[in-house]
């Protein structure tokens, strides 16, 4: 359905982009149109990730592209990175998730908190996707409240012993390395847990009705010995994992617009060709209202992330800005996908069209990397000064 897809750009935001930003967007768009869209529904149904695309994505430079060249990065700016995420998610949220995790949740913490040896050892091979990473923060009983985590580390001679369990971990079953967050003497630390460490297991999560073209699993740690050299030395406390989440949430705020654009473009095309009562359904006011609402919200979302990206590049961004963009864009993207399904009528439920897949995916995306509700409360705290989600809060 995506032949001749030229993006959605009602406000000519293209004019605000540099030549290389547009080229990076276009190269990602062509890759997704030619390599992802023809195969993704099959993977979605089979619950498989298109692993053969990983080397191609690495060759194009999609992993850790904002990092310095000496670590295998491409030194692209955050707007270009965001545009890339939009295009990848137009293909599928699972594909964007893969790139988000590898770049924002694995390469970023190693780059930001790792030792020079850790950076040299891991970043170039992660950029080439010779190694695949995952990020272990969420636990069965600690989702929005990661500070309560049970996973812990004990210092022993030459390293640490880790125990605990992590859940909802994108890529864990196929990962060569996991960035695991665990409490050491009550303080959160990051550890690089490698495939093959005794007691480290990553069972796959089955039965997902969302993000089916993405591999999700658990991490279980039973007396896993992690050598001293694998502790991330540069950060202590929750700000470590939260710093990573900011990277990933930033990518999501851009990414979900891709799902929204694909569904809007599908709905527009369909409404112009579907005839009822002798005229295309696009001729009816109720359809037009839907299409206009979709386009209007996409445009607002684009302007928001464009500004967000420029602030990330000039260093004036705050985590609350990212929360607002993630919160808003996930919400509107999900509504747009559902609305597109309505425009397509019964056809909307078919796998011939991408709308149900996107809508189902976004149910996850709205919840992961900070739920819609948590982002509301983060912004609420920012503007009132009152943290509503802290149990120890007393006036």
């Amino acid at each position: 359905m995506s032949t001749n897809y030229k993006g959605v750009d009602y406000f000519n935001i293209d004019a605000l982009l540099s030549e290389e930003e547009r080229m990076i967007r276009d190269t990602t768009r062509d890759f997704v149109t030619n390599e992802v869209i023809p195969v993704i529904e099959k993977h979605n149904q089979a619950m498989t990730f298109p692993r053969d695309l990983i080397p191609k994505m690495a060759e194009l430079g999609f992993f850790g592209p904002t990092l310095p060249a000496e670590y295998g990065g491409m030194e692209v700016n955050n707007v270009a990175y965001g545009l890339m995420m939009t295009e990848l998610e137009r293909g599928d949220s699972g594909l964007r998730s893969f790139a988000s995790v590898q770049s924002g949740l694995v390469m970023y913490p190693i780059y930001a908190y790792g030792s020079e040896e850790q950076k040299k050892k891991w970043l170039p091979s992660l950029a080439k996707a010779e190694k695949i990473g995952c990020f272990g923060l969420t636990e069965p009983d600690f989702g929005s409240n990661p500070g309560g985590m049970i996973t812990n580390a004990k210092k022993v001679d030459g390293g640490y012993i880790l125990n605990g369990a992590k859940m909802w971990i994108t890529n864990s079953p196929i990962a060569d390395i996991a960035v695991v967050w665990a409490k050491l003497d009550g303080v959160v630390h990051g550890f690089l847990v490698e495939r093959g460490f005794k007691g480290f297991e990553t069972p796959q999560t089955h039965g997902k009705l969302s993000l089916r073209a993405s591999i999700t699993g658990e991490i279980t740690l039973q007396d896993v010995f992690v050598p001293d050299a694998n502790l991330l030395p540069g950060v202590k406390g929750l700000k470590g994992p939260l710093g990573c989440l900011n990277q990933a949430r930033y990518g999501i705020a851009w990414g979900v617009l891709g799902s929204a654009m694909e569904c809007y473009a599908t709905a527009l095309e369909y409404s112009l060709s579907r005839i009822q009562f002798d005229k295309p359904i696009a001729a009816y006011q109720m359809t037009q209202e839907k299409l206009v609402w979709m386009l209007n919200e996409i445009t607002k979302g684009q302007l928001m992330v464009y500004r967000l990206g420029r602030m990330k590049d000039d260093g004036t961004i705050k985590h609350t800005h990212i929360s607002m963009a993630k919160r808003n864009n996930c919400e509107i993207a999900l509504t747009i996908c559902r609305m597109a399904r309505e425009v397509l009528g019964a056809n909307g439920i078919l796998d011939e069209y991408p709308v149900m897949r996107h809508a189902n995916n976004l149910e996850s995306v709205k919840t992961y990397e900070g739920t819609h509700e948590m982002h509301t409360l983060i912004i609420g705290e920012d503007i009132t000064g009152i943290p509503s989600f802290r149990v120890d809060y007393k006036d």
Partner: protein
């Protein structure tokens, strides 16, 4: 091996083109431009020749400032050097070819690559005229290419089949779809292209040999007809296909 590839910038295939108020040029408002799709096969062929034989690659374009985008795309794919013969004038095939030939004469390229045609004016002439001006053989509509030493062997598309053509270097070739799969510019290439300069030159010749006196839009397609929705409509459908559409 010295490899030159000539590219042009054309309206995006999805753009709805309108004729301007003068009745003989395209209204540029709202038109987005892309590198001519056939030229991408030529760029890819140039890169593959370089990867196999070593040497240097140069991209040349004749046209407006905006043609730099096509050159930048070629840079991002891996071409090393670019020349824009800059002009705002509308040039016909002869004049474009003459300007290309003037750049190419001093270059002594072993292989000069073109797309088989630009998808805007569809003249299919620039490659052949340029080759003639350079005094080198020209092979058009090439779908496969091999160069061993001095010997060039191409397969080219002909009506209902293929023919195999040989020549010796230097040679001009025009690329047809199927010659290769143009690579996506990767992020590394795009970032490297940013700092690579484009040499600008003045046109050496501006007199057109032909003049466009008018443009017309094609007639809009007649509306489709629904003969019926079940098997009872088949005889009528067959009749119409035979008598009206004359396709069976």
């Amino acid at each position: 091996m010295k490899i030159a590839v000539c590219v042009s910038q054309v309206p995006d295939t999805t753009t709805k083109v309108k004729i301007g108020p003068d009745g003989k040029t395209i209204d540029p408002a709202g038109v987005t431009y892309i590198i001519n799709p056939y030229d991408e096969f030529a760029v890819e062929a140039a890169l593959q020749l370089k990867e196999k034989n070593g040497g240097e690659t140069v991209v040349i374009s004749v046209g407006k400032e905006s043609n730099k985008e096509a050159i930048k795309k070629a840079y991002a794919m891996g071409i090393e050097k670019g020349i824009l013969v800059k002009t705002d004038a509308e040039m016909d095939s002869y004049t474009v070819a003459r300007n290309l030939a003037d750049v190419l004469k001093e270059m002594n390229a072993d292989v000069v690559l073109f797309g088989k045609q630009s998808i805007d004016y569809d003249d299919m002439q620039v490659g052949n005229i340029t080759a003639e001006m350079l005094g080198i053989p020209s092979i058009s509509v090439v779908v496969s290419l091999s160069i061993e030493g001095n010997k060039v062997t191409c397969e080219r598309e002909i009506e209902g089949g293929k023919e195999i053509v040989e020549a010796t270097l230097p040679v001009a070739l025009s690329a047809q779809r199927g010659l290769n799969n143009p690579r996506y510019p990767n992020l590394k290439g795009i970032m490297a292209a940013k700092s690579r300069a484009i040499e600008e030159r003045q046109p050496t010749y501006t007199e057109n040999k032909t003049e466009i006196t008018g443009m017309k839009m094609p007639k809009s397609k007649p509306k489709g007809k629904i003969v019926g929705t079940d098997v009872s409509a088949v005889p009528e459908l067959v009749k119409l296909l035979r008598e009206e559409a004359k396709v069976i």
